[in-house]
């Protein structure tokens, strides 16, 4: 074959190769087949739901070693019906709220206020769905602080529970934290100080096999001989990369200013606790959004792998804020805020876990006049229908923004077509507390089924 024929075919071939390469690199394909992963949203028939209420606060009567229910909490429900109650140390405590067939949403809140010589403060907590695995951070086991983990088993099957306690120095070696049996329809209380003494920033990972349980942390504070601070924290189901706290009330300088100089009151200042349970360091961006508009402010923090760190939120203007935490790893978090009445001297703290981000219908049982905060963590605005009693309003929330509204006692129902998070902050004369709006447990309302 001659040079010319070789050159001709060669040049033609290389030109076609070049054209093909350019087409593959530069031109996106205009074709489409219309095939998408097959998934459907199926509504199951008549879903049951059980909300477990932890009942009264626990304390030690007459210096006894056992924890028993103290106080007298009241239970407010939105729809639902009372089921059985649980047993703690021989006393009936807590309740299980069951869904009534046909009711679309359900919520329950327990409130109690204390003002005696051992406990002072205001406690309000949502009743939550029992889980097999949950995380809760909060409290402290330093001098004067008591943190009790209450495990409530509202089912008729025993639960076998394993605990992991994390702290500022990482996972705590805690003998006795595995294999805890919580019998059917009963509660068990464990002091975190028994597992991790002198731990300023505990966080707990509760894993239950057998029955699903509801775990709460009860925090009490005594400064010297003066009690001041009670709260109960509900848990979250799993660490997440996006965590939302819709109602963080930064107390005014006027109210807490007088006690700030006292180091014993250091836990009144607002702070956020972050646990990184992964093996890689995480970088978290904490964005504080002023409620009802304004410029958000961000703080970046690095949370080392396996450690808990508390970050103070001291230098922010008083008022209602919403906090959105975004991180490159899933984290566990909780926020703390404080209350002090300079006139009565009552001091209270409020801890809360992040509100679940959910699209659908959520409800909160509101015990008394409080402030509702709704956060829109999405990248576009959304309209949420809020019904408070008989009043229904449509509220528009900008992208990444939040909105606060006063609400009356009773029920608050939120209907949204996109992801939102909501909670209420209740401030009374006896203290402050935050109650979250909980979502339906996974898969209940609409199950998205993908066909494999």
């Amino acid at each position: 074959m001659s040079i010319l024929s070789k050159l001709t075919t060669g040049v033609v071939g290389l030109i076609v190769l070049g054209v093909g390469g350019w087409a593959a690199a530069a031109i996106p394909s205009p074709l489409s087949t219309g095939i998408v992963p097959l998934s459907e949203s199926i509504t199951p028939d008549g879903i049951n739901r059980h909300l477990v209420c932890a009942g009264n606060a626990v304390g030690h009567l007459a210096d006894s070693a056992d924890a028993t229910p103290v106080g007298n909490s009241s239970l407010i429900t939105v729809l639902g019906q009372h089921g059985s109650s649980m047993v703690l140390a021989g006393h009936d405590n807590g309740a299980v709220i069951e869904r009534v067939k046909g009711q679309k949403f359900m919520a329950a809140t327990e409130v109690d206020s204390f003002g005696d010589s051992t406990m002072v403060g205001f406690l309000a907590t949502e009743c939550g769905d029992a889980l097999n695995e949950q995380w809760v951070a909060g409290g402290s086991t330093e001098t004067g602080r008591e943190t009790n983990l209450v495990l409530s088993n509202g089912t008729d099957v025993d639960a076998r529970v394993d605990l992991e306690i994390w702290g500022t120095n990482g996972l705590v070696e805690a003998p006795g934290s595995k294999g805890i049996v919580v019998p059917a329809l009963s509660q068990r209380v464990y002091s975190i100080a028994g597992f991790a003494p002198d731990e300023p920033s505990p966080a707990v990972h509760v894993v239950s096999t057998g029955a699903a349980i509801w775990a709460t942390l009860q925090v009490t504070a005594v400064r010297g001989l003066v009690p001041g601070g009670v709260d109960r924290i509900g848990s979250i189901s799993a660490p997440a990369a996006t965590l939302v706290f819709p109602t963080v009330r930064i107390p005014s300088e006027a109210s807490i200013g007088e006690v700030l100089s006292d180091p014993a009151y250091s836990d009144i200042t607002p702070a956020i606790r972050l646990l990184n349970p992964n093996e890689v360091d995480a970088t978290a961006t904490i964005t504080l959004v002023p409620a009802d508009g304004g410029d958000p402010q961000s703080v970046t923090a690095t949370v080392s792998a396996g450690l808990v760190s508390d970050i103070a939120l001291a230098d922010f203007v008083e008022g209602d804020w919403s906090i959105i935490v975004t991180a490159d790893q899933p984290l566990v978090s909780a926020i703390r805020t404080g209350f002090h009445d300079p006139n009565s001297g009552v001091t209270d703290i409020a801890w809360e876990s992040p509100s679940p981000i959910y699209a659908g219908t959520m409800a909160i049982a509101v015990p008394s006049g409080s402030t509702l905060g709704i956060v829109n963590p999405r990248s576009d605005a959304i309209t949420v229908e809020v019904s408070n009693g008989d009043v229904i309003t449509a509220i528009e929330i900008p992208a990444g923004g939040s909105v606060v509204r006063p609400v009356d006692s009773g029920q608050v129902v939120l209907k949204s077509t996109g992801d939102i998070a909501a909670s209420i902050v209740i401030e009374t004369g006896s203290g402050i507390a935050i109650v979250r709006a909980l979502s339906e447990p996974r898969d209940a309302g609409n199950v998205v089924v993908t066909y494999g």
């Binding site: 074959m1 070789k6 050159l7 001709t8 075919t9 060669g10 040049v11 033609v12 071939g13 290389l14 076609v16 190769l17 070049g18 054209v19 093909g20 390469g21 087409a23 593959a24 690199a25 530069a26 031109i27 996106p28 394909s29 489409s32 087949t33 219309g34 095939i35 998408v36 992963p37 097959l38 998934s39 459907e40 199926i42 509504t43 199951p44 028939d45 008549g46 879903i47 049951n48 059980h50 067939k101 889980l131 097999n132 695995e133 089912t155 894993v207 239950s208 096999t209 699903a212 189901s237 447990p441 996974r442 898969d443 209940a444 199950v447 998205v448 089924v449 993908t450 066909y451 494999g452």
Partner: protein, 900 residues
């Protein structure tokens, strides 16, 4: 004296013009009277008055003509001559002297020499083996007096045969059924059994031009002669054997002729069944057999004495071996194109790659089966695998009706290679992928070059390409098959014999059925070959179409979905934009560098390769480099058209094309072009070659070692995909279904598997390209949605409707779904298994045993086309026994690239 009573019969058939010469010869021999001419030619003959002329037709056998010719005389001796013969002086005298002196001799024959080459013996005496094959004692040999001591023979030929009249009459002349071939052999045989002796007289010389067949029928195709030879052999055998033995002999003859015919058919020889046709014709001509047997029985008085008269079959074998050697020598002399040979260096490299491949696939070697990525186990019994060929029901996607899938058929047929354990096929392919690719690259480069050094570089690079190793890491069996088979197919495509067409058709079928997106390239290749002078190559598309026609017909309404990769669809992360030009099927990763730097390095390598290919266009010794670049460009156009388009969906993931096979088409041209350019630099090619191969290995080191380091998705697994409890239960109750639930972030993935689980053969193309869920899937979806919440629905009734006996939750024990599923009455938790948590439906569930019949038309068509392709692919070329070497012994530096 014999001369006094001699009748000379001259049979004139085709050479009537030679008659006068022959008569002249006879006159000079002293024969004046007694000449009878049997004029079978139909022409008018110029004869003298004293010659008697008998007329006949041209199709009259010689024996019959002689018989009629001697009716009118009462001569005691008959001399049979033909019109193509010449008589040398002294021939008749020699012949008659033997008859005069030996009264026991009944038939004598002369030495027949070739009239065109007077020193060559045409024929002299005939014999046969004990099994009936006729053997000429001397056949087209130079006459060097080697046979001049021969006297007693079994038979002589008809040309120049001098026979006593009483022998002719008592034996009954030539057998009417034998027209020319072996007629004289049979006559002399019967004369021998009647007690007469037959002798050949070497001092009697006659000339002849034709053999008995040629003089009877003229020039005919070889097949007709073969047929006649086997017919006469069968006839003679069946005549000579006793009656009882003859029946079995007939069956034996027919059967062996059929078997030999099949052997010739497979070896692509011409007229393979001529022998069978002749044998059958003789066996069924019962009238002729009866007549011949009666005739023989009448004249038989004794068995033939003297085993020395028969030729041992070893002699026949020796002669056949000599013929074969001549044929081989002729073929070798004609075939002097230089060809790429698989030499010592290639064998060493292949051994190295076998070891390298075993090391790289180390973790997978002892596995029962492979899973992960796109890999799934195959059924554990070969019968189950075969029943998937042509199956119209697939258990994937909850069970749906599908068109028979070509890839399923290919894998099931390939699994026959490891019939004891079909999964060993997949593991074997993965373990041997590297050495097989080396051999493929080596052999495939034979299309463009004959230099073994070039081929070594090309093979080494082909074995280390990232397209192969990414496919191995992701368990993509279709892509691995294409990578191994593509160069073989290219080499076969450029052949021109039936064997090449057979191989091309098989390889194209396997590649087409595995990766349908290659179909346009394959068709383009075949069209190019058809257009450039090999029109029969269009048949190479037949097996592919036989595998794929149901799927093609089905996808006519949505043509793009035809190009979805076969097997289990696993998502791939194809590079986009200029990353495509790295010719990697997924994003480039290299150790120690960032992915953008790695992309730049890969782009640089491709650019270098293109430049070297440009040089190869000029340096190569044929124009095919340009054609390969062109086909590569077409493949890139197809990548441009199809990349990023969702072609299938499975497990909730949208799957687009795995571009590996299309990029392989481009890589092949690049690799061989680069190899050609490098070896054209003679001094440095010994260094540059291994460096190039090592560079390609180093650039692709991450996918190369992915399996060995355990970072590849594919891993060893057990053969079943469901827990052992389910497998054991469904072995007893076939058809029991298991709902498999996998929770995800925003929902769950639901699948239904029957019996021991879904295998690779269940994933038919129809199922993965569906756009709506099947009714079974909808039912399962509702069941699953009600299972994972505490709902009031009667999940047991839903399970019974869908024939579901088990629920498997693919999650840890602490997942929230565990308690919700357990809360439904009627589900008994079996426990935690290696696949998740298992529940059993605690009421009787009827197994789904609807029998889905496979598509029999598909199976039959595929079987027929497959058998034809396999027979065509059986090699017929006689092996080259010696390479043609130049007379000049080359020195090291002067090695001629054409022949090194």
């Amino acid at each position: 004296m014999i001369r006094d009573s001699l009748a000379v019969v001259v049979v004139v058939r085709r050479h009537s013009e030679r008659l006068s010469t022959l008569l002249q010869d006879l006159k000079s021999e002293g024969i004046r009277a007694g000449i009878v001419v049997a004029n079978l030619s139909g022409d008018a003959l110029p004869t003298d008055g004293d010659v008697l002329v008998i007329d006949g037709t041209i199709t009259e056998p010689l024996g019959r003509a002689v018989g009629r010719a001697i009716e009118s005389t009462d001569a005691e001796t008959i001399w049979i001559l033909r019109d193509d013969m010449g008589v040398r002086p002294g021939a008749l005298a020699a012949l008659t002297s033997v008859l005069d002196t030996s009264p026991s001799v009944g038939v004598v024959g002369p030495k027949v020499l070739d009239a065109n080459a007077p020193a060559v013996i045409l024929e002299m005496g005939e014999s046969m083996t004990r099994s009936g094959y006729s053997v000429a004692l001397a056949e087209r040999e130079l006459d060097q007096a080697q046979y001049d001591r021969v006297s007693d023979v079994l038979a002589v030929g008809e040309a120049g045969m001098l026979v006593r009249r009483e022998v002719w009459d008592s034996v009954g002349g030539f057998d009417r059924a034998l027209t020319s071939v072996d007629a004289a052999l049979d006559f002399c045989y019967r004369a021998r059994t009647a007690g007469w002796r037959v002798e050949v007289v070497p001092s009697a010389h006659v000339d002849a031009r034709d053999s008995s067949w040629e003089s009877f029928r003229g020039q005919t195709p070889r097949a007709q002669l073969q047929r006649e030879i086997s017919r006469t052999r069968a006839h003679r055998l069946l005549t000579q054997r006793p009656a009882f033995v003859a029946m079995f002999a007939a069956v034996g003859l027919g059967f062996s002729a059929l078997v030999r015919g099949l052997g010739r058919f497979v070896q692509k020889r011409e007229a393979p069944f001529a022998e069978f046709a002749g044998t059958s014709a003789a066996a069924f001509d019962l009238a002729a057999l009866a007549r011949a047997r009666r005739n023989a029985r009448r004249s038989r008085t004794q068995p033939i004495e003297g085993s020395r008269l028969f030729v041992p079959s070893s002699e026949r074998a020796r002669r056949r071996a000599l013929e074969r050697d001549e044929l081989i020598a002729a073929l070798e002399a004609a075939d002097d194109d230089p060809r790429l040979s698989f030499g010592v260096a290639a064998t060493w490299w292949m051994t190295f790659f076998v070891l390298a491949g075993l090391v790289l696939a180390g973790p997978l070697l002892g596995a029962e089966a492979l899973a992960g990525g796109a890999a799934l186990p195959l059924p554990s019994s070969i019968v189950e695998a075969w029943s998937a060929i042509g199956a119209t029901w697939s258990e994937a996607a909850g069970g749906s009706t599908v068109a028979p899938d070509g890839f399923v058929a290919v894998v099931a047929m390939l699994a026959s290679l490891t019939w004891w354990n079909p999964n060993a096929l997949v593991i074997g392919i993965v373990a041997l992928a590297v050495p097989l690719s080396f051999v493929a690259g080596y052999i495939g480069s034979g299309v463009l070059t004959t230099n073994s050094r070039t081929a070594l570089i090309a093979g080494g690079a082909w074995a280390l390409l990232p397209t192969l190793h990414i496919a191995v890491g992701e368990g993509r069996l279709p892509a691995i098959l294409v990578h191994i088979l593509l160069p073989f197919a290219v080499r076969a495509l450029f052949g021109s014999t039936i064997v090449s067409i057979g191989w091309t058709s098989i390889l194209i079928a396997v590649m087409w059925a595995s990766v349908p997106s290659l179909a346009p390239i394959l068709v383009l290749g075949v069209v190019l070959r058809v257009v450039t002078g090999s029109p029969a190559m269009v048949l190479a598309l037949a097996p592919a179409l036989a595998l794929e026609w149901p799927r093609i017909l089905e996808s006519l309404s949505r043509p793009l979905t035809y190009f979805a990769d076969r097997g289990f669809p696993a998502p791939s992360t194809s590079p986009t934009g200029f990353g495509v030009l790295t010719l990697w099927p997924s994003t480039v990763t290299m150790p120690f560098v960032d992915s953008s730097v790695a992309t730049l390095i890969a782009l640089a390598i491709v650019a270098t390769a293109v430049v070297l290919v440009g040089i190869a266009v000029i340096v190569a010794d044929n124009t095919r480099v340009g054609i390969f670049a062109l086909v590569g460009g077409v493949a890139l156009l197809e990548v441009a058209a199809l990349s990023g388009v969702t072609l299938a969906s499975a497990n909730g993931a949208a799957v687009s094309l795995f571009t590996g096979p299309l990029l392989d088409v481009v890589w092949f041209g690049l690799v061989v072009g680069v190899a050609i350019t490098l070896t054209s630099l003679r001094r440095t090619s010994t260094v540059l070659g291994p460096i190039t191969v090592l560079t390609i290995g180093a650039v692709g080191i991450v996918p190369l070692t992915a399996v060995a380091m355990g970072s590849a998705p594919v891993h060893a697994t057990t053969v079943r995909t469901l827990p052992a409890y389910v497998e054991a239960q469904t072995a007893i109750d076939h058809g029991g279904g298991t709902v498999v639930l996998t929770p995800t972030n925003d929902g769950l993935v639901v699948a239904l598997e029957r019996d021991g689980g879904v295998t690779l053969l269940d994933w038919a193309a129809t199922a993965v390209t569906r756009t709506t869920p099947t009714p079974t899937e909808r039912a399962i979806g509702e069941l699953a949605a009600n299972l994972v919440v505490e709902s009031d629905a009667d999940v047991i009734a839903l399970a019974q409707e869908s024939h579901v006996s088990f629920v498997l939750l693919d999650a840890t024990v602490t997942a929230p779904e565990v308690s919700t599923i357990s809360s439904h009455a009627g589900l008994v938790q079996v426990g935690e298994t290696d696949r998740g948590i298992l529940w059993r439906v605690d009421s009787a569930v009827e197994p789904d045993v609807t029998d889905r019949a496979p598509n029999l038309v598909y199976r039959l068509a595929l079987g027929a086309v497959g058998v034809v392709a396999l027979i065509a692919a059986v090699p017929t070329a006689l092996p080259r026994r010696r390479r043609p070497v130049d007379d000049v012994v080359p020195l090291d530096e002067e090695v001629d690239d054409e022949h090194s």
